[in-house]
């Protein structure tokens, strides 16, 4: 990596995907990065209701030694199931791989854009 300036890269890990029940994002390799922020923006929601309290999905950040087996890192996003809700979680010292393990409440679906903002 260049020593001149901090490298950064934003990966879109879900682009208009509809999340229901249990979902895991594809493994993302980012050993070069020292810190990361997951963002989840809800484009549309069904079943959660627009009036509070909306249903809440939970996305747990997971890490992996090899991209094959996964364990909760501890950080979580609470995702309100309503259009334009935006949530995030910061992580650091995560090793080589990152993904989200998402649980959406019954009778609820959310269409999302999820991004992973990485920085060396």
């Amino acid at each position: 990596m260049s020593a001149m300036i901090r490298n950064t890269y934003t990966a879109v890990i879900a682009r208009g995907d509809v999340w229901r029940q249990s979902v895991q994002t594809e493994p993302y390799e980012a050993a070069w990065a020292g810190e990361a922020i997951f963002f989840v923006r809800v484009m549309e929601a069904t079943g959660g209701g627009a009036e509070p309290p909306a249903a809440t999905a939970v996305a747990r950040v997971q890490i992996s030694p090899d991209g094959l087996c996964w364990v909760d890192e501890g950080a979580e996003l609470e995702i309100a199931a309503k259009a334009e809700s935006l949530s995030f979680a910061r992580v650091a010292n995560f090793g080589g791989w990152l993904r989200l393990d998402v649980t959406v409440p019954p009778q609820t679906s959310i269409k999302v854009v999820a991004t992973l903002a990485l920085k060396a």
Partner: protein, 284 residues
């Protein structure tokens, strides 16, 4: 031999044979260098995107770390660009870099690459990756031209080990209601043809976690929009009868010079296409 070539003074470049000008030399130890995911066109709603493009995911920088042997590392340094499919048979993924050309002359793409399936089974797995390949998306004042080259490693569980090209894409489909945006799936599984004499066995090695790097060179002439040939490791392919997908020039793609790398899985296992570095050179 080109032993007098000035690049031999630089160990990182001395394994390449660039033309007189380097357009870009992307060593992925330095970062992503402008490589991103290929998304499909859309208008009004992201749901208008062709499904095969909507499935594409972002490329990564990988140090190729495995459960059994730790970090493999790249050809040089630590990181390689990684293009990974989802774990679904027939799934593909595409990484892209977009520039334009300043002279319609000869260009040469060189890369050191490797491919492997995800190491999720304790078996050889050498026919789990379906294809790896690359394409240009080019336009001059007359035509949009898309040379496609792929290595068909396996298909539906059968070992294939040959290079292919294509001259046809899918029909154009209008997107949205404004008449401004169209799409076509030029990487669809249809219409691939064998490169004459294009059989080649590559070095897979014995388990999914052992990686051997390969050299690929592809020469093209932007003036005539013709293939000039390609080389993979010790085999050279002249390609006199090989051609590209061609269509009338489109309104907003003047001098486009896009380079894409892609891969496909043949099984319910992720396919990984690694690029240690990419060097694009030209005569201009």
């Amino acid at each position: 031999m080109q032993s007098s070539h000035p690049i031999h003074g630089d160990p990182r470049l001395s394994r390449f044979d660039p033309l007189s000008r380097v357009i870009y030399f992307d060593d992925f130890d330095q970062g992503m260098n402008g490589w991103t995911t290929l998304v499909g066109n859309y208008e009004g709603s992201i749901d208008t995107m062709t499904r095969s493009y909507a499935r594409h995911t972002q490329p990564m920088l990988s140090q190729m770390t495995h459960w059994d042997s730790g970090t493999h590392g790249a050809f040089d340094g630590t990181y390689a660009l990684k293009i990974a499919t989802r774990a679904v048979p027939g799934e593909r993924n595409v990484g892209i870099k977009r520039i334009t050309f300043r002279k319609a002359g000869r260009i040469r793409m060189e890369t050191y690459f490797a491919f492997k399936p995800e190491a999720s089974e304790l078996k050889l797995s050498d026919i789990d990756v379906r294809t790896i390949g690359f394409l240009y998306d080019l336009q001059d004042g007359r035509e949009r031209v898309m040379p496609h080259l792929r290595y068909l490693n396996a298909l539906d569980g059968k070992r294939m080990n040959k290079w292919q090209f294509k001259r046809r894409t899918t029909p154009f489909r209008s997107i949205g209601g404004r008449g401004e945006t169209v799409t076509h799936d030029h990487l669809s599984p249809d219409d691939w043809e064998d490169v004459p004499g294009g059989a080649q066995k590559l070095c897979y090695n014995e388990v999914p976690t052992k990686i051997n790097w390969h050299y690929l060179r592809f020469d093209f002439d932007l003036a005539s929009m013709r293939w000039l040939g390609f080389q993979c490791n010790d085999q050279v392919f002249d390609c006199p009868d090989v051609d590209s997908i061609k269509m009338p020039a489109m309104p907003n793609l003047s001098c486009m010079l896009n380079l894409c790398f892609f891969c496909e899985s043949d099984t319910e296992k992720r396919a990984f296409f690694y690029l240690d570095s990419v060097l694009l050179s030209g005569e201009f």
